[in-house]
Symmetry: C2
Subunit: 397 residues, 2 copies
């Protein structure tokens, strides 16, 4: 059984705070603080340019990619780190479209994170508007997969509601209809067991600052199925995806396998922080994590529904059908969340009306859940959110 008391001890959690926003930005792993300090002093400071070889910086996108891969069912050598999730979406989608040149429809849903849709829109415009982005409701996705679809592009866990798509069956349907499946694991990686190999996914992408605790703006990842990795074109053909970057040839030749999805010089500060953050996963059994996550979420739902009747559940009630987060809906959601934050319970708000809470067993326990509900109950019962100070919108919500 995974020791979640031990994993909790690996994080810095400010006194008096119940942090239910690790689905947006994970807390500071103590190891990341140490590791970054060592990078600054012993590597950048002492080794200078030699750090690229001697400290292994150049290979970090692959090394860290393999560590992320172990959490998402990806074999060694199939995941590489770099850039942001939006860029990785673009890479995956551009490659996927070229594998089905005769198909002109990208199918996605309204539960996808908007940036994925925006990147698709930009790509379609570059491609001369020959393609169409078709957006259906999440529950209509399966029926909408037909022979016109070239690429099915979905986020497995809905960022607002936590609703979980069935990756395996949707990928199978996509393949049956001749389409390529691109999965965004932003709210999945580290939140629940993911099995890219078992689901036979073609591409997957994700970010690492949520459940993987890599820090603000930590690098993203991309997975390409081994059967495709040597076939795909990297639309963003940067020098570190070249077969021999340091030959400085004028012409581009893609590197072997997943290496071709590298683009520019990797962000080493972010990569070492993430690498250290991933230490917390050593010894964690993903089945234990899932069981505990569902238990915490179920407890939160039950207690909130009992004690705060004016809030409406915005997430699937069945734990098997959602990720590791719970949303409740209320017209004054923004102010309610501000009032919660002022009382030390940190979640976030997603327009138009969702207050969202992430539950990450690595550092959140039952006591935290009960404390959060008590404070939420006080705020709702006494309308504490109804103060002008909580209604002022900040830049980042």
């Amino acid at each position: 059984m995974t020791d979640f008391e031990k994993t909790r001890s690996l994080f810095y959690l400010p006194e008096g705070i119940v942090y239910l926003d690790g689905n947006s930005l994970g807390p500071l792993p103590l190891a990341a603080k140490e590791r970054v300090a060592r990078l600054m002093t012993d590597e950048w400071g002492e080794l200078l340019i030699k750090g690229w070889n001697k400290a292994g910086w150049m290979m970090m996108p692959r090394k860290v990619g393999d560590r992320v891969g172990r959490l998402i069912g990806a074999p060694e050598g199939t995941v590489v780190m770099g850039d942001t999730l939006s860029i990785k979406v673009y890479q995956a989608l551009a490659s996927a479209l070229e594998l089905r040149p005769e198909r002109k429809v990208i199918l996605s849903d309204s539960g996808n994170f908007p940036s994925d849709l925006y990147m698709a829109d930009g790509l379609i415009r570059s491609l001369g508007r020959s393609h169409e982005l078709k957006i259906v409701e999440p529950e209509e996705v399966e029926a909408a997969i037909d022979e016109t679809v070239g690429v099915l592009m979905l986020t497995e866990v809905d960022y607002r509601t936590g609703r979980l798509h069935d990756m395996k069956s949707l990928t199978k349907k996509a393949h049956d209809k001749g389409a390529i499946a691109v999965w965004d694991l932003a709210h999945s990686a580290g939140a629940l067991p993911v099995d890219l190999t078992g689901a036979d996914a073609d591409f997957a992408v994700g970010c690492t600052y949520k459940y993987l605790n890599g820090g603000p703006g930590a690098p993203a990842f991309i997975y390409v199925a081994p059967r495709l990795a040597d076939k795909v074109r990297p639309a963003l053909s940067g020098w570190l995806g070249h077969e021999t970057p340091f030959a400085f040839d004028l012409g581009y030749r893609p590197g072997g396998g997943i290496d071709r999805m590298r683009v520019g010089t990797p962000p080493i500060l972010g990569l070492v922080a993430l690498d250290a953050a991933l230490d917390a996963w050593e010894g964690v059994d993903m089945a234990d994590l899932r069981q505990q996550s569902i238990k915490l979420c179920d407890l939160f739902v039950a207690e909130v529904e009992k004690r705060c009747p004016m809030l409406t559940l915005g997430s699937p009630r069945n734990g098997e059908k959602r990720g590791s987060q719970i949303s409740f809906l209320h017209r004054e959601g923004y102010a309610i969340m501000q009032a919660l934050i002022a009382r030390g319970v940190i979640g976030d708000f997603r327009a138009p009306d969702a207050i969202r809470f992430g539950f990450t067993p690595l550092y959140i326990g039952e006591r935290d859940v009960l404390k959060a509900v008590s404070i939420l109950e006080d705020i709702m019962t006494n309308r504490l959110w109804d103060a002008a100070e909580y209604k002022q919108r900040a830049l980042v919500t």
Copy 2:
């Protein structure tokens, strides 16, 4: 007069090392070490998700962009940070091509950094191969700018030789012929005075881990001329370039001005390190920097030519015609550089035969130059490079 003794004191330079590779990776600014430690503890650790508003993370790409802008002649609000240089090249080029839809030629030269050419190649393929990347020799660029050229895409300072293009006259010629000018300032920003406004450049991009000392894989920048910023399409249309990112609309609407060149979640560790590194530029007069840079380079050339006759100068002799770096050519350049590094003189090697040295007055003085030449002379005179250990190629050269 700029106090270069003072700027030198702002960097950590390992004992006994002469660091002539700041044109590849600048040394550690002491302020960056402190600032990153504070980010980890006081911001990520204590503020958690609130750091995006309270520590100003969300606005850092603009704030740091403005600081970089002051070093390259860009007005406030015209530069934004993020991603890697390769990605920024793609953005600039895609936008530039759309401003000249009827023109099908991208003109560049063989002195451009290969990644710029690779990214152009990838973009052309996405655009359906309707465009052509024409690569001429650096000295043929001016004559090759004609009415067929849609975009002139050049790196101002050649990464191998240090040869400096005349940005102002080439931009003027491009404009006279109806073309858009995209400038890569990778080896210019912080190396010499740059005046994007005076040159009337359309787009500029650059990296910040060289002369700006932002650290390994520090974020890149992009400049768009104010007269174009609201007209251009962001091909990489990510959520943070959206007019209202936190409205989570399904449709993309570009943000105003330079904001639309933002893509995904910004890399905060890299941004704060860079922000602190830029403190070293407060009080630096770029004309002083240029004068001192030319003096150091001229001294190095004169001494090496006098004392190492087997090396051939690979850089322009006239200081006004080059950046802040000097290359010498030798068939055994790789081994010579390894021998130098073993003796504490750090430069780098660029295939096929260039040993390359960067001179950055912020922390390099005449004594360093003379010490480097003495060691180089010893290595050349006594053929110390002719040892097997110096001929083994490392991953990063």
